[in-house]
Symmetry: C2
Subunit: 303 residues, 2 copies
């Protein structure tokens, strides 16, 4: 990855980081792994998805996970509780799944209804079944982990699927990170902050921006790698992007019926060297990472 | 805090952020709190310090903690195990302290001898007695915590004493952080990374630099707040500091017999608006934060 002068860049358009195609490749790899798995462990790797209420995006996401799992003859259980479920009942459901040896991974869908404390729910999860990396012990291990390959090693931990998918794209496209300046826009618990940590572990210099950041454009323009995870349609425009930057867009926003990212794709693709589209970029990777985490969970529980 | 043009700044010298004086003030506040505490809980707040081997810096630090605690008629227990102690025996010692109701806070001194895995030792700690915030559940809560005052709230957690002391200096000197660019040099588990999180929670834009950072000077010069925690004597020189910046030096290095920080104090004080000296800056705050965390631990265990 090299930064070319602006006038050269303006003659080219960014390479598309094709999450859809990459997910397809990875599905094949994982299908081979699943076959070996069933042979070795004599179990059906199984996920339980827990939801309270019927948030449409959650319902749609759960459907996508169901298809991914059922197409591979993997186990999928949907625990859709009513929106007025009590915190205690939700915790009881999670504990029951923790104790169920036929369930290897548990995913809690957000948003949770008002009155239910996220922390109480994530704390209830068994860390070894926490395939979306939301239990504090998993978040803490990621926060504490030394750079990749350097001591002290920490034991395996689960990383939230969305940033894990973004990292996988960077890895599969051989984008070097060490010493590069990575700018992450957004500081959510499940995307921005874990992404910052993952980039730091790969020896990037990392800046985290957010709603209070002054002169966001100036900061973003420093990013050799620019990651957007704020949930604001087309917030990142061409003038905020360093010529030649690699742009990873985690945004999922709807403008009318159209899904768009946090990045103004049409203008930014004329400045960046590589960019993920929305849809078809980081999104398709999320399911794959979740699938991979479920296999990893089986390995830890039975291995 | 305002950035003045270089030629104005050169006529002035930075204000000293006097950790020694601040620690003295805080000791008085805490002494009043301790008196109220003994009255209320009828217990002697007690710390246990655990060490394996006789690393001179650890021995010296333990001595300073002992003085701080004994001067206030607080409990202090030193568990100095031999350098060749087994991991299992060290874990057994920690579990025994976890189960001892007369011990409220446990601090494990590093470095641990080779062959002992840091993670196994910190995992063994009870999170409610982990007054130096090294258990992954405490690190995870800090990593997951929303900005101060914003939901979702997470329950109380312990923050490592050194960065907590740095934040306390910023707070007591009324240094505004929201929207400011904070640059943290160093990404250690117990100083750099937690400091980055604490600054992010206060709505600073945060950049984390380290040994692989390219053009460290250029990145550092962006910092309205510049924190150094790398353990390299006088790494940060005047040319790397933004005129008017607030400089927090966590470094403890020895050049011959002289203790110096990571910041070249003599030159940087001519550029910065405020700066912590070494010694007498962040160092004296560390003990105080540990003391405060032990009181907090009593509150959680008995409150």
């Amino acid at each position: 990855m090299t930064s070319l002068p602006g006038n050269e860049r303006s003659e080219m358009t960014a390479e598309i980081l094709d999450g859809q195609a990459l997910a397809k490749t990875m599905r094949k790899e994982i299908d081979a792994e699943i076959a070996a798995f069933k042979e070795r462990y004599k179990v059906t790797p199984t996920i339980a998805v827990v939801r309270a209420g019927e948030d449409p995006a959650s319902v749609s996401y759960a459907g996508a996970i169901r298809r991914t799992f059922e197409q591979r003859q993997l186990g999928f259980g949907m625990y859709a509780l009513p929106a007025n479920v009590s915190e205690a009942d939700l915790v009881a459901q999670i504990i029951s799944l923790n104790n169920n040896p036929n369930v290897h991974g548990i995913m809690i869908q957000e948003p949770l209804p008002k009155g239910i404390r996220t922390e109480v729910i994530t704390d209830a999860l068994s860390p070894v079944k926490d395939i979306d990396g939301v239990h504090p012990a998993n978040a803490g291990r990621l926060a504490q982990a030394a750079p990749v390959g350097r001591p002290p090693e920490v034991s395996d931990f689960f990383v939230p699927a969305t940033p894990a998918g973004g990292m996988e794209i960077l890895k599969r496209y051989n984008i070097s990170l060490s010493g590069k300046h990575a700018v992450v826009v957004g500081r959510s618990r499940i995307v921005g902050k874990p992404m910052a940590f993952l980039l730091l572990r790969e020896n990037a210099t990392v800046t985290v921006c957010h709603s209070r950041t002054q002169d966001l454009g100036a900061i973003c323009r420093q990013g050799d790698i620019l990651c957007a995870a704020v949930g604001q349609a087309k917030l990142i425009t061409a003038s905020m992007v360093k010529p030649g930057a690699v742009v990873i867009d985690f945004g999922v926003n709807f403008v009318g019926d159209k899904m768009v990212g946090d990045v103004d794709f049409e203008s930014v693709k004329e400045v960046a060297s590589m960019i993920t589209p929305v849809p078809g970029g980081t999104g398709p990777m999320t399911n794959i990472m979740l699938l991979r985490n479920v296999l990893e969970a089986v390995r830890r529980q039975l291995g």
